[in-house]
Symmetry: C2
């Protein structure tokens, strides 16, 4: 079976980050930092209003990798994240992954991973390394 990807391939997902998402991530992770949940606390910070958890926004990168590129059969080996701008409640974020290189000896992809808001501003940069195990995918019913 050939390796179904090449350098330069890319995929993305877009999602609005809602108040409900921030509440759900706080409950799920236990990260109830008031910077994300308490408008009066957030008003005293440089952001002036609550911001989404960085890892909530980063979870959209997980969605691109787990569902699109490489999708099922992909196994996360590493992820670097730089949180370069805040994401506010109601922002619409596009997470994008692009293959930077493919190891010649193993089915391991390195991807540039970027999240951009509805104003075209980059909010997260970084890279992921993902192994692709096609046996699972090939055997899928």
């Amino acid at each position: 079976m050939g390796f179904p990807f090449q350098v330069g391939d890319s995929a993305e997902v877009t999602r609005e980050i809602t108040q409900e998402d921030v509440q759900a991530f706080a409950s799920l992770s236990g990260d109830d930092n008031p910077l994300h949940l308490d408008a009066s606390f957030a008003a005293r910070t440089r952001f002036r209003q609550p911001i989404a958890h960085g890892m909530l926004t980063a979870s959209l990168i997980s969605a691109v990798i787990g569902t699109r590129l490489p999708g099922p059969g992909g196994i996360y080996l590493s992820q670097e994240l730089k949180f370069v701008r805040p994401v506010f409640i109601g922002d619409r974020v596009t997470a994008r992954a692009e293959i930077l290189d493919i190891r010649p000896d193993k089915p391991i992809l390195r991807l540039r991973t970027t999240c951009i808001n509805q104003r075209g501003e980059t909010v997260i940069t970084g890279e992921a390394v993902v192994m692709y195990e096609p046996s699972a995918e090939a055997g899928r019913v």
Copy 2:
């Protein structure tokens, strides 16, 4: 106001990763990779059974940083994650952060971030960089 941390300070949180957590993360992120949700798909992979999303486990690091060290007033600048072992449903994971250094010129901490399972095996390694903005915290009621 003095800087209330020093190199070597550490904090941790422990959580069981349940089937409900994995389902909730899949819904929240959109990452419905069957490796996490479908036992028959996972049975054909090297893991033999569903594993938790790497970013779900990593969200426990967000909890340590957002609630304990530095806690409220902490702002995530970056996070590196290496997913070195799978986390299975029902595993009990301890996420730990330890201050590696503090910038002399700015309130910026570099932390070693590690997740360990109930067998003492490391599942995630990495580092975080976090800014600490005490004004928000100091003004808290």
